[in-house]
């Protein structure tokens, strides 16, 4: 990545006042999780960053450049896998590469599927795969185009508990190898702490940042082992406190 820092800035009052003066700086290669109750405009925030939606006020800067229109360097992972049902797993992973005219897309797609343990399911259609497998295909598709910035909208929320941990582990292993800038939106506090470098909590609508904590857990991380970790549990308590309306905690760097 070229820039040293990336600035995401959003100041604005949408008609429904979904976001209000939401300001956040994210460094290149950093993994930031945004935690907040459902329906607080987290998806709106991601849409604005990706350029799909224009903010009422405020601006988003990537590498100091103002976001105008669709951002092709952004990779997007929605909660539902959004796989094309008429394409096989392999062709779904190829999809983004195909739209961008990449030549050796087949081998890249094969590699990605292999990394996610799906080599045997290359020619399966999405409806033939389990939820967890489909989400893994979606991860493969996202990483295949190697985006500079990854926007993830509750990407694991549709999975059952066991599958979720397994897919999270696959994802974090892949991320620790590639170190993209990630903005993960979630309502799952455990997930946020387990995966991210920083956890930002936000209030109910209109959403603004209420706290910003650094997660100083070692990498590589293993989601399952973290659950028993004392530092992890302490953070869990702190972030939960941050999420309480008006709640506070002495150690937290409180904002707003």
């Amino acid at each position: 990545m070229r820039g040293i820092s990336q600035v995401f800035r959003r100041r604005g009052v949408a008609p429904l006042s979904v976001l209000s003066d939401f300001t956040l700086d994210v460094r290149a290669g950093e993994f930031v999780a945004i935690v907040g109750p459902s329906g607080t405009g987290k998806t709106t925030l991601l849409n604005i960053i990706s350029g799909l939606q224009r903010p009422t006020a405020g601006e988003v800067l990537i590498d100091g450049e103002k976001v105008e229109g669709i951002q092709k360097r952004v990779g997007y992972m929605p909660a539902r896998d959004a796989l094309l049902p008429w394409r096989t797993a392999l062709r779904n992973v190829e999809y983004g590469l195909e739209l961008r005219g990449v030549r050796d897309r087949r081998s890249i797609a094969r590699e990605m599927l292999h990394a996610l343990g799906l080599s045997d399911f290359e020619s399966s259609y999405p409806h033939e795969l389990s939820q967890g497998m489909r989400q893994r295909v979606a991860i493969a598709r996202t990483f295949a185009v190697s985006p500079e910035i990854l926007l993830m909208d509750e990407p694991f929320s549709a999975l059952d508990a066991q599958t979720r941990v397994r897919v999270q582990e696959l994802f974090i292993a892949l991320w620790e190898r590639e170190r993209k800038t990630v903005l993960l939106v979630t309502h799952d506090v455990m997930e946020a702490i387990a995966l991210a470098d920083r956890v930002v909590t936000c209030s109910t609508r209109p959403a603004r940042v209420t706290a910003d904590r650094t997660v100083d857990l070692d990498r590589p991380r293993h989601v399952r082992e973290l659950i028993g970790d004392a530092r992890f549990q302490a953070l869990l308590g702190e972030v939960w406190d941050d999420l309480q309306p008006g709640g506070s905690s002495e150690q937290g760097r409180k904002l707003g």
Partner: protein, 287 residues
């Protein structure tokens, strides 16, 4: 019995679901046997219905001149087909319905895409589409006759007027069911309007279009037949009309049986084509 040195006999510790330990499947579970049984039952139903028909006329329960008999219909059919009369009339009806079908499908899909991707226009014309669609199309037959003459064109117009709305409404339904996540994701991946249309909108609308096409087959044939009954000198509809005019009930039935068989063959082909086009869809078994 061994294969590659491995015993195929059930062993202690084998999973209960392994094939060797399953009880023999009944015919309900064996696909081939099931299809055989169902087809045998179908033939039985058909034979019984024809038998009942013949019997009720032979026994005098129903008048011979009203109901005719299967044997009379059969001899009329063979007479009509050896004289070449039947096939030429079937050919005329098929020609009219297929030309009308193609025009109607192409028109319906094109209008459907334009309206589906242009919400303002859709909003404006929606009530008019609905009004036109509720119009009984048969009522248009006299008008088409005046406009296009008693030749094939007036029948084709009637077929088009039926097919175009079915396909249009299905296409609109398909474009309305686009997955917003897929569209957003495709745009982020760099898809412009054209690529979006080709790679997302067309394939995701295709099942709806194909369903509309299959539904249209029966309407296309009906449209052509009804058009022929109104006016004309050929086609299955003409045979029916002529048979009615001369009290030739066997000829009417012969014409009806012919339409049924032809429509059934075309529908089977359509079903096969539909399965091939939308192979990626999950199969829903409601039985």
């Amino acid at each position: 019995m061994t294969v590659h040195g491995k015993s195929l006999e059930p062993k202690v510790g084998d999973l209960p679901g392994s094939p060797e330990t399953l009880p023999p499947a009944s015919w309900r579970e064996n696909r081939v046997q099931r299809a055989l049984v169902i087809n045998a039952l179908r033939v039985l139903v058909l034979v019984a219905a024809i038998g009942l028909w013949q019997l009720s006329v032979d026994q005098g329960w129903v008048g011979r001149y009203i109901a005719s008999t299967p044997s009379a219909v059969w001899s009329t059919l063979s007479h009509l087909s050896t004289s070449g009369n039947l096939f030429s009339n079937v050919g005329v009806t098929l020609y009219e319905s297929s030309v009308g079908f193609v025009i109607g499908v192409v028109g319906g899909v094109l209008i459907g895409f334009v309206l589906g991707l242009w919400p303002l226009a859709h909003e404006v014309v929606r009530p008019f589409i609905m009004m036109l669609n509720t119009l009984p199309r048969i009522a248009l037959a006299p008008l088409f006759l005046l406009w296009f003459g008693i030749g094939g064109e007036s029948k084709i117009a009637l077929v088009v007027s039926l097919v175009v709305f079915i396909v249009l409404i299905n296409t609109l339904e398909g474009t309305a069911n686009l997955d917003a996540d897929i569209v957003a994701l495709s745009r982020l991946l760099g898809a412009g309007r054209t690529k979006l249309a080709i790679k997302v909108i067309l394939p995701s609308t295709l099942p709806w279009i194909v369903a509309g096409m299959r539904l249209s087959i029966a309407y296309a044939i009906s449209g052509a037949v009804v058009g022929e009954m109104f006016a004309g000198q050929s086609g299955i509809g003409y045979l029916i009309q002529a048979g009615s005019g001369t009290f030739n009930v066997p000829e009417i039935f012969a014409a009806l049986v012919t339409i049924m068989i032809v429509a059934w063959i075309i529908d089977s082909l359509g079903r096969w084509a539909e399965r091939r086009v939308v192979r990626w869809r999950p199969k829903v078994d409601l039985t």
